[in-house]
Amino acid sequence: MISTPDFVLVVVIAVLFAGGVYLMLERSLSRVLIGIILVSNGANLLMLVVGGPPGGAPIVGMTPEQEMSDPLPQAMVLTAIVITLGMSAFLLAMAYRSWQLNEHDEVQDDLEDRRLARQAATDQGLRSELGFDGALPATLDEDAAEARDEMALFGEERAEVDWE
């Protein structure tokens, strides 16, 4: 059952992945998309290669069963191909929208995340400045003095039995 890997395909897969990852790490959405397409092609080939040795088309009557390639990874790859199409079209629509709004299709940094990082940095500054205890919350006594229930005001309820 053990099959020897196909050297040419291994090289092709590696090159597709290297190029695809390189492009995916860019900021231009259209380059990212091209990277995704390259990686997808590489991944589909990978599925096929690790799925089993090559053979004839898995169609009964056309190829003897012993010589067939494994149909299961093929079915998975088939769906993956069409999904990639859907995703490419979606990313292209995003790139177009980004161009419409910003006149470019670059992925910007998330401002909220950057704000968070800045805040954490100042917090760190605060810690070293005030010492660790500086920001500790209030003590138990202070908290207890603050805790007041929403109690009835008896004066308004004199109508009830004045027992004592």
Partner: protein, 989 residues
């Protein structure tokens, strides 16, 4: 009693129903709703009272319902003496406190409905906890009480202090609960059952069992606020006072004690148990009393007093001898009554005077004389004055400790010392409490008389009942002995004890008097004690440790977040990819070896195609021009398709070619609006980093490709698929049968993704409703039909015959052609389109139906139909597209999904499973034999979804971008290289 078994279940359900209905009830009746709700826990107490005789004779009701039989977990309930006592306390005190609530809260106070719901819900959870006979079930109720306690402590959600206290309570108690859960699982695993009765009857032994017991005790300590996990309880005083009286004095904090009492008959002999009970209980008893002496807030004083008393209870119920256990059970009941009563009194004083700080209260006894007397009764029980319940319990405890009963003598002595010290402190802080709340203090001015208002009966009665009850149960002779002994006698060691009101002049009584005197003395020198306490702070404050830990955790989390959450997509992606390299790649490098030989069996064709793909990929990456990059990507795609074909996957090759073509078309449609060149790259150094990551990933993946094929041990699951495809799937194209039959669920999920993608594309592009813009030429009034590109320069105009652009219908090849300016039309393209379009459609349909037996199927057919539509659009513009497919794409997507789902459901009607294939052979007149396979309809559904996606893509990224271009004045034609400014020379390849 009739149906006493299911009564408990009914009671639990009643609590749940009352909790759910409480908000409505409160909105109807206002705070009077508390009186109605008091009936629910009250009925639980009444039920327990009705079972007294049965419980005492050892025939209390039990009930078991099967829950998770595979894990040996049942819903098991039983009412023995210990449970009976707890149900009485939980139900009785719960009902009284609810009555108190009806007068305590202002009618105008907010969120009373929510409060009532949580309160009753808690009472139900507590009832379930104390009647559970299964450890896992007990844990569930245990955590429920934790959650309700959290919600009740945090009742004033707008207050920071209240939220902080609630967080503290839930963190400590759930952490303890989780530790306990580990213990539960360990012990359940060892003994093969989770039934508490069975475990205690035959307790497992060994180091694992000891560990489990220690873990269980940690859980009990966290719940019952034993030192060092006690600090959440004083903080929990942020809760409304009725909550403090019920949860944090009478009921919830007793859960840990209850667990100790449950397990003690089985485990009190363990040395680890004895040590833990001594340390946890002893320290709580002494430290709690010591801390109570220095508090100024009356609730805090009571809270520390509770810590102290809980420590005492842990000692008595955990020590292991029968006599101590009996004393412990008596104190358990007495404490619930006097402590709840005292809390209610403090709430009353607070309500009447507006303060709980004993430094501001003076001569209140004159204003609230009855309240003061009730407080004195409860306090007398707490400090152990005869003839109150507290006295009876403490005498019995002292007696049993003096006689010894627990196995090692050192334990008895240590426990006795802790007991004496704790009792002296209790006397001192008990007196301090009454003095602080009611006594006349020379140094403190009296509160303005108008501010002190007498309380109504509903507020006073619950506190009074609990205080007087402490007297009543003690006075009834032999009562305690009779009802409590059955459980105490399940303890393995020692002589049975006795509860007596007047034991005579025994050594115990002498010691008791001595403790009382010492306590009074300690109270008398309170000023000096307070000053000494102020100057001698303990070195280790558990609360401080908690705060520091939490603060440190916050800072650590913030630092970690800011380190990784940079907001940069490439950064995130880089991290993810590096993880792929490090983790699975590392595992591969360490655990596997490369194959000793590789194959080149693909021969020259594969080598040539492979080389083509490699070169095209490298050129794609280096390309600076969008269009060039896209076309090169297309070449890698076509190359991949050929590799698929050479590998023996014709279906994949077909689909890949089609998808590649369509991707190319769609890319070009969008690229005409984007700049011709990619924007400038930032830094060269960045590029090297990216390249490094790319190569690392590539090496890892190549490693997988080499290693994984070797790893196969078993024949593939698909070995039998070819025969099954023919026999059950009715098709000889195995890949297609897999798609529409074997793994049809996958395909179903996939076409749903396509529907989502299509909808997303349309939503991103259409700024208005997409239904409005599929106008066909005939929808326009003749003469108003817009013509695209009419103003473009047309050097050939003099050569044209006038009128060609809008010629009569018989002269045109495509109807949409009229909407294009003459210089934009291509007769060759229009003629070819006209001739090819229908051929392509027929070919698609043929592929769709032959796909079950030959390469093809719904995906390929849908893609070819999409290509046909694309050709029409490219040749004739957006009006031509509307002419070719006057359908709304949503209709295609929806009906496709519907057909696929529906064809999956039909087999159910035929008695099969979802998506099972049924095969019919019909004889149709004129046509003859028809071989009908239901999965064909599934494939048709797939086809329709793919066509819908294609139509949405063409309409959005083609037609709508055209329309927007026309509307905004941007030309919508393909951007030719000449129209763009020439790129800098270095960027040209």
């Amino acid at each position: 009693m009739l149906c006493s078994k299911s009564t408990l279940l009914v009671l639990l359900l009643a609590h749940a129903a009352a909790a759910l209905g409480a908000p409505t009830l409160v909105s109807w009746l206002g705070r009077r709703a508390f009186l109605v709700l008091a009936l629910v826990p009250g009925s639980a107490a009444a039920w327990a009272l009705g079972q007294t005789a049965a419980v005492t004779s050892g025939e209390g009701p039990t009930m078991t319902l099967s829950w998770i039989p595979a894990l040996g977990i049942d819903l098991a309930f039983r009412l023995d003496t210990l449970s009976w006592l707890m149900v009485l306390l939980v139900g009785g005190v719960g009902a009284l406190v609810l009555v108190y609530c009806s007068a305590y809260f202002s009618p105008a106070s907010g969120n009373l409905g929510r409060f009532a719901a949580f309160f009753v819900g808690f009472a139900g959870a507590m009832l379930g906890l104390v009647t559970s006979d299964n450890l896992v079930q007990l844990y569930v109720f245990w955590e429920l009480t934790t959650v309700f306690s959290y919600l009740l402590i945090g009742h004033y959600t707008t207050r920071k202090s209240s939220r902080r206290a609630a967080t503290k309570a839930i963190l400590v108690t759930t952490a303890g609960g989780l530790v306990m859960l580990i213990g539960i699982v360990l012990i359940g695993d060892l003994s093969g059952t989770y039934s508490i009765t069975d475990i205690v009857a035959a307790p497992p032994t060994g180091p694992v069992a000891v560990t489990a017991v220690v873990l269980l005790l940690v859980g009990a300590a966290s719940k019952s606020a034993l030192v060092p996990l006690h600090f959440w309880l004083p903080a929990a005083m942020a809760a409304p006072t009725p909550v403090s009286a019920y949860l944090h004095a009478a009921a919830m904090v007793k859960a840990g004690i209850y667990l100790v009492a449950r397990l003690a008959p089985g485990y009190a002999g363990l040395e680890a148990w004895q040590l833990m009970i001594l340390v946890l209980g002893g320290f709580s008893l002494v430290m709690g009393g010591y801390q109570a002496l220095r508090q100024h807030d009356l609730k805090l004083l009571l809270a520390y007093g509770t810590v102290s008393q809980l420590g005492l209870l842990a000692i008595l119920l955990g020590a292991g001898s029968r006599a101590t256990a009996l004393a412990g059970l008596a104190l358990l009941g007495a404490h619930a009554m006097f402590k709840a009563s005292l809390f209610l009194v403090v709430g009353l004083v607070d309500a009447a005077t507006g303060t709980r700080d004993l430094r501001n209260l003076s001569a209140i006894w004159r204003r609230l004389p009855v309240t003061a007397v009730m407080a004195a009764l409860a306090m007398a029980s707490m400090i152990g004055l005869p003839p109150f319940a507290g006295f009876v319990a403490k005498e019995a405890a002292l007696e049993s400790l003096l006689h010894g009963g627990a196995s090692p003598a050192w334990l008895d002595i240590a426990l006795l010392v802790a007991f004496v010290a704790g009792s002296v402190l209790t006397v001192a802080y008990g007196l301090r409490l009454w003095w602080g709340a009611f006594a006349t203090k020379a140094t403190i001015p009296e509160i303005e008389p108008v501010r002190v208002i007498r309380p109504p009966l509903l507020l006073l009665a619950p506190a009074a009942l609990l205080a007087v009850g402490g007297l009543a149960v003690a006075v009834l002779p032999g009562l305690g002995d009779q009802v409590l002994s059955p459980y105490a006698n399940t303890y393995p060691a020692g002589e049975p004890g006795h509860l007596t009101l007047w034991p005579g002049l025994t050594p115990a009584l002498v010691i008791s008097l001595g403790m009382l005197a010492a306590g009074v003395g300690l109270f008398a020198i309170r000023d000096r004690v307070e000053r000494w306490q102020a100057t001698h702070q303990g070195p280790l404050d558990a609360d401080n440790v908690y705060r520091r830990t939490l603060r440190g955790l916050d800072l650590f989390a913030a630092d970690l977040t800011s380190l990784f959450q940079r907001g940069s997509l490439p950064f995130y992606l880089g991290i993810v990819l590096l993880m792929v390299v490090i983790l699975p790649g590392g595992a591969m490098a360490l655990g596997t070896s490369l194959p000793d030989r590789i194959s080149l069996r693909g021969g020259v064709p594969q080598l040539l195609v492979g080389a083509l793909v490699v070169v095209a990929t490298i050129l794609t990456v280096r390309s600076r021009r969008r269009l060039k990059a896209v076309i090169l990507t297309g070449i890698t795609g076509y190359g991949t398709a050929m590799l698929f074909f050479l590998y023996g996957a014709p279906d994949l090759a077909l689909d890949q070619v089609l998808v590649e073509t369509i991707t190319l078309v769609v890319f070009v449609l969008v690229l005409r609006r984007l700049p011709a060149y990619f924007s400038n790259r930032p830094l060269a150094a960045d590029r090297w980093v990216r390249l490094g990551i790319g190569i690392a990933v590539a090496v890892t993946v190549a490693g997988f490709a080499m290693v994984v094929p070797q790893a196969r041990l078993e024949p593939p699951v698909s070995a039998a698929l070819p025969q099954e495809a023919v026999a059950f799937g009715g098709g000889s194209n195995v890949v297609n049968v897999i798609l529409v039959d074997v793994r049809a669920w996958d395909t179903m999920g996939e076409i749903s993704v396509l529907v989502a993608a299509a909808t997303g594309i349309a939503s991103l592009t259409f700024l208005r409703s997409r239904t409005r813009d599929s106008r066909r030429p005939r929808d326009h009034v003749p003469g108003e039909l817009p013509v695209l590109g009419l103003g473009d320069p047309d050097p050939m105009a003099p050569l044209r015959r006038p009128g060609t652009s809008s010629g009569s219908r018989s002269q045109e090849w495509l109807r949409g052609g009229r909407t294009l300016a003459p210089q934009r039309r291509s007769v060759v393209f229009e003629v070819t389109t006209r001739m090819l379009y229908h051929t392509m459609l027929v070919f698609a349909i043929w592929l769709l139906f032959s796909g079950h037996n030959a390469p093809g199927g719904g995906f390929a057919a849908g893609l070819i139909t999409g290509l046909a539509l694309a050709v029409r659009y490219l040749a004739g513009g957006r009006y031509e597209l509307a002419e070719a497919a006057p359908l709304h794409p949503g209709l295609l997507l929806g009906s496709g999904l519907f057909l696929a789902t529906g064809s999956g459901l039909i087999p159910i009607l035929l008695g099969g499973e979802v998506l099972q294939t049924a095969i019919f052979d019909l004889t149709v007149p004129l046509i003859g034999e028809v071989h009908l396979i239901t999965s064909t309809f599934f494939d048709i559904g797939v086809y329709l979804v793919v066509v819908g996606l294609m139509l949405d893509v063409l309409r959005s990224l083609g037609a709508e971008i055209d329309r927007q271009g026309e509307a905004t004045g941007h030309d919508s034609d393909l951007v030719g290289p000449a129209l763009e400014p020439a790129p800098p020379l270095r960027d040209r390849l």
